[in-house]
Amino acid sequence: MASSERSQDNNSKITVEETNFFYGEKQALFNVALTVPTHQVTAFIGPSGCGKSTLLRCFNRLNDLVEGARLIGRICLDGKDIYDPSVDVTDLRTRVGMVFQKVNPFPKSIYQNVVYGPQLQGIRRRSVLDGIVEKSLQGAGLWEEVKDRLHHSALSLSGGQQQRLCIARALAVNPEVLLMDEPCSALDPISTAKIEELLHSLKEQLTVVIVTHNMQQAARISDLTGFFLMGELIEYAATKTIFTNPSDSRTEDYVTGRFG
């Protein structure tokens, strides 16, 4: 219960207040309210189509791209409404990084992939960029594997390496929050284990929100877990509670594999 207590205090990173989300006519989120605490790993679980990705993409306003998408409610980062007209979206997105389910390194070299974000921020000095590349790749646990071929194409890496490159790319802009939408769903068990390990160390530097379909994974890596069903947040509590003693029977059914 320690985590949920903490989420009430000032350590909250993201606060979602009574949020409804629509894709045109279709409502994807119903009155969702939750708080993501700083320096913790928060996992979203739930059956397919229940709105986990939708909520995640609300956190960096990637849903703005979808035509007809509409949000009613309030989502705050460090207490500031991110949907406020005064917010610079590109700035928000450098603070809230994202790793996608579909591994998507750009068809450029490993080096260019990592410096993509920093260069957008106007960093041009070679020495600075070199430093960022090393630090980010180390942060993503990839440095040892690729340090000799930084200028090879990113697409020459294995799937797991590519995903860690995507993490390094996101880390390169020093985000405060890292959103991960099923980052391991396309990877083999060893790569998955590596990324899970990574999450433990990443937690020290930033806040992680991860969507996963894998119950064991959620149980292993997260501090808090939110269970979604049909666009509603059914239960949100410390991971241990969710998996051992859920208060809602639907949560219990889902985590024990009785449906979904």
Binding site: L62, R93, G97, M98, K102, F106, P107, Q121
Partner: protein, 544 residues
Amino acid sequence: MSDRIKKFLDSGTLFVWLCGTAVAASLLMVGGVLLLIMINGLGFFWPHALVEMTLTDGTHVLGELKGEEVIPHSETPEFPEGKTRVRLKVGNRDLYGLDFRWVDTDQITSADFPKDVAAFERREWGNFYGRIREVSRGEAVVASGNQEGWKALQPLIERANDLHDEIEHLQRDVIGDINYEIEETRLRIRELGLQGQRETPEVAEFQADTNRLETRYRKHVETLRALSRKLDEHSVLLVETNGREKRLVVGQIVKALRPNDMGFFEKMLRYFMNFWSVLSEEPREANTEGGIFPAIFGTVMMVLIMSVAVVPFGVLAAFYLREYARQGLIVRVIRIAVNNLAGVPSIVFGVFGLGFFVYAVGGTIDNLFYPEALPTPTYGTGGILWASFTLALLTVPVVIVSTEEGLSAVPREYREGSLALGATKFESMLRVILPCALPGILTGLILAVARATGEVAPLMLTGVVKLAPALPLDHHFPFLHFERKFMHLGFHIFDVGFQSPNVEAAKPMVYVTTLILVMVVIVLNLSAVALRNYMQKKFKASAV
């Protein structure tokens, strides 16, 4: 039984065969066309043997054998297959009136390939086939007899060709430059005149320049006359096979060959030399002889200008349609319109180019920037720029469509990945989407180039001419002369093949030009394909 037929049909074997047949038929047709052009075009450069025939009436015929056919309606009981006749290129147009002649096979008593007959390629009147009687300098005979004359003639022809080169250099480069400068000075004076300056020191200075230039001009014309007289110094008396004589100034002869006396390698060498001279020389005799260099140059340059114009234009339009515009009814209508634009007959674009580019835009440019040259139009008449722009307009739909395809093939993950790193939409487009769409864009370029090289009709309205006085690229500032008229291989084919006074003699030239047009198309396309592959490789995984 019907079961088995049904099974056969369902198995798809028939369909596979149909598909295969269609492919084979297409390949066969393409191959056939290429083969026809190659045979006719490449054969042109080979030094053909000269056959000398004696006919039943005692006359002789000398020339190149060009073919044999059955005389129409000549089937008689004795000759159930019909009689045949051969076609000869006998040349000597000035004596015979015609280059070609039919000879019935049964009229020929003997045929022979004498080693001592020669083919003379002349600057006028086409080839002369015959023997040499004497070579003289002025009135004095230098060498007489075929053998002696042949030996004496070779160095004389070489010297005459050198003289021709010198004259050409003088005429085109030296005197051409002076003329260019005189014209420029005239225009400056006129410009000052339009500004109301008539008697100012500036005008006087230009006037003095003109006088100086004219003195120089007259001096060079004198040199030119002297050179021309030198060309007329030697002459050669030729006899055709029946003994009729013809006196020729040596300066008239481009080259003399004895094809029956040449070995295979000599012929081979001559073959490549002929090929090269067609590629590198200017046309002669209403384009039916000489080379086609200006046409090759004009074609390539026009395609290059067109590419430079069409790619940015088409890419920007496609980016707008695909990335910025709201996907709705209007965009759909625009897209359909663009697609249909590709189906509009090209001559329509020619008319538009003439009306819009040449008259409207060009006329305005003339009024604003070149008033001193009026009433002679500068941009207000057909030129390579307007022709290229017209073709750019014609090919822009292709570029738009393939760029749009390239854009839609860029995975959504790349866009989102870029945006999620804090890029604006514009930055994402420039740094991720454009590079990914590059192969599509270049495919568009390839298609555009292929279409533009083959297009002739719109060019005829917007700047192509039969014979252009100067290339659109030279050493006079600003080097590229977009307003100049130019020559084009496609138009050259039409002009030589159907507009020339001597269609039969021009036929080989038609095939050669076609062959070279095909080669130019292939080379241009291959370079575009190579560019695309290079770009693709740059963005693909490097083999590790």
